[in-house]
């Protein structure tokens, strides 16, 4: 059997990696192994189940230049909260403080590489997680100490910027110690000057009884490619909460994998996506229930319009022995204009008998009776459609309990919906 020749894109990144190797600052062997893994897996083929609705042909055809730590940041949007660190092209900007916003911060210079560049295996994005590990210019470690309670929010603004199409590989590892509590806000932006590619990884571990709320805002430009993997392990009695707003990029794929490893571990993943224009936004969630009494809730609201396309694939697996578990999935989708498309696949696999599981999926248009009701009270058609669309997303947005971020997401949805609906009306 002859080996399949690596694709030109794979060769491009391997060669770039060989040139960059010396400036990437340590973990050489680990990075080389990750690069090998990427080359082995290559780009997904058309028949790969995990990429059924999302083609990476366009992404694969581009030759992005991997960013080096020296690239300076461009215009960085204002912070939502007081404590913020900017990460440009995967490297922290300026001196990394020892602690910020409830976390201790570490880099390759100060923290173990096996924590910062832990291999993440399985799933459709393993290849990209490996590429990220090989090329990540300045991985960050955020950690808490046992019992540490923080109500602050640490914001990381991850910006991709460059004078040509750039590949940024931001990587954040989060280690929540036993009984600690913290909040983290990740804001993905880019300079909009070129078709950049952001390939991000968040690698999170929650110790027993820990509690982490992760707010995520992806608002990259209409030219951006964005692939991200969020890997989370949750130990007993710990809770991982995620509030996602997937609003930007031309093509975005987010894999959120949560492994409920300890007894009574819990996760709540809610989010909204808005695929307008010709955006393609793909969210995959994979929750594994591995222990007794674990609970999960997935609630995503998707909106698509024009030539926009949304993909939602929510999976919960209740493994043998995970008795008394509770898995709930909700995915509601709204198609605002003809031609828009949302492909959704709720997926429950249950290998235990004493569990509570439910899933519900709907895809439809705005209720004509509700539209007429509002118009009969004097609201214009765009106003009525916008009010109903906001109401649709509102149930999920109401859970974003960081006020400045919530306001931004509301305003951004409003701005885009009104524009969209005025054109459509």
């Amino acid at each position: 059997m002859s080996a399949i020749a690596p694709s030109p894109a794979t060769v491009h990144y391997r060669e770039a990696f060989e040139r960059l190797h010396s400036v990437l600052g340590g973990a050489a062997a680990r990075r080389a192994a990750a690069m090998e893994r990427f080359a082995e897996l290559g780009f997904p083929g058309a028949r790969e189940e995990a990429w059924k609705y999302t083609s990476l042909r366009r992404l694969e055809s581009r030759r992005f230049v991997p960013a080096t730590p020296t690239t300076p940041p461009a215009n960085v949007p204002a912070a939502f909260v007081a404590q913020r660190l900017v990460v440009a092209n995967g490297s922290p900007v300026g001196t990394v403080p020892a602690s910020l916003g409830g976390f201790a911060l570490g880099t390759l210079a100060t923290a173990p590489e096996e924590q910062l560049l832990r291999p993440l295996s399985g799933g459709g994005t393993e290849r990209f997680a490996a590429l990220n590990a090989a090329l990540s210019a300045g991985p960050l470690l955020l950690s808490t100490t046992a019992g540490q309670q923080s109500d602050e929010v640490l914001q990381l603004t991850l910006i991709t910027t460059g004078t040509g199409p750039t590949l940024a590989s931001p990587r954040i590892a989060v280690r929540m110690a036993t009984g600690s509590r913290a909040r983290l806000l990740i804001d993905h932006v880019d300079d909009g000057a070129h078709e950049h590619f952001t390939n991000a990884v968040l690698d999170i571990e929650l110790g027993a009884g820990a509690h982490l709320t992760l707010y995520r805002l992806q608002r990259q430009s209409e030219r951006a490619f964005h692939i991200e993997r969020i890997e989370t392990r949750v130990d007993e009695n710990a809770t991982f909460v995620m509030r996602d707003s997937q609003l930007g990029a031309a093509l975005a794929r987010l894999d959120t994998n949560v492994s409920l490893d300890g007894r009574a571990a819990a996760t709540e993943i809610t989010g909204v996506f808005l695929a307008d224009g010709s955006r393609h936004l793909d969210s995959h969630i994979h929750v594994g229930h591995h222990a007794t009494g674990t609970t999960s809730l997935q609630d995503y609201r998707g909106i698509a319009a024009n030539k926009g396309r949304g993909v939602f694939n929510g999976k919960a697996i209740v493994h043998e022995g995970a008795q008394k578990s509770n898995a709930r999935q909700v995915n509601r989708n709204l198609l605002l204009t003809p031609g828009a498309e949302i492909d959704t696949k709720p997926d429950l696999e249950i290998y235990a008998d004493d569990v509570q599981c439910s899933h519900g999926t709907t895809t439809g248009q705005l209720d004509p009776n509700a539209l007429f009701y509002l118009r009969s009270r004097g609201l214009s058609e765009p106003e009525a459609r916008s009010a109903l669309t906001r109401a649709f997303a509102g149930a999920v947005l109401a859970r974003v309990d960081e006020p400045a971020l919530a306001r931004h997401v509301h305003d951004e949805l409003d701005r885009r919906l009104v524009r969209l609906l005025e054109v459509a009306a």
């Binding site: 509700a370 509002l374 118009r375 009270r377 004097g378 609201l379 214009s380 109903l388």
Partner: protein
Amino acid sequence: MLSIRDLHAQIGVRKILKGVNLEVKPGEVHAIMGPNGSGKSTLASVLAGRAGYEVTKGTVAYLGEDLLALEPEERARRGVFLAFQYPVEIPGVNNAYLLKAALNAVRKQRGLPELDAFEFLALIKDKMKLMQMDESFLSRGVNEGFSGGEKKRNEILQMSVLEPRLALLDETDSGLDIDALRVVATGVNSLRSPERAIVMVTHYQRLLDYIEPDFVHVLSDGRILRTGDKSLALELEKRGYDWVKQEASAA
């Protein structure tokens, strides 16, 4: 104020209105009665501009304008108000937002300045009291989880806030117990005025005990067969609708 001439309307190929004529002047209260399927609700829907009805013949003039050429929101802003037979539940859009947006849309049309939140609250407080509605209702979703009676009270509250020129009440009495009916009737009666006309569509005479009409029309099979004063309603209550049909076909 409202002049309906030879109005024909259908849903798909099903003809429902077959030549309705009706004149409504300011200050008048009209009741349109008739058996189920006679076209009462269709008439209200066509006047309010609900989609799905095709007007094949006839005209409707409202304050000198061609009503049928206006979008539903344009009709509303010019003072046409439809109290729905089945008010729609809209979770996530709260009552205060809807009332304020609706009121400001109407005020803008009338050349009045928009109300801010304080002025708005002051205005609706008394009206809510009249309709026996608790203030907590303002922050709830439109009709969300409301009982049948609460929904109808909410319709009349909206009407009293918007102060329409022409109010259309579509089966407002249906599904109401006697106490709720009294509250609703009190709300409607408080809006009677020399400038305002009210057209009530109803199946039963009961509502007319509380809101006294100047004219009663019998609509049957898409046409107004008979017009009288409120004694006609009492006669209908006693004798049913069949004798009107028989007399009409004999004529």
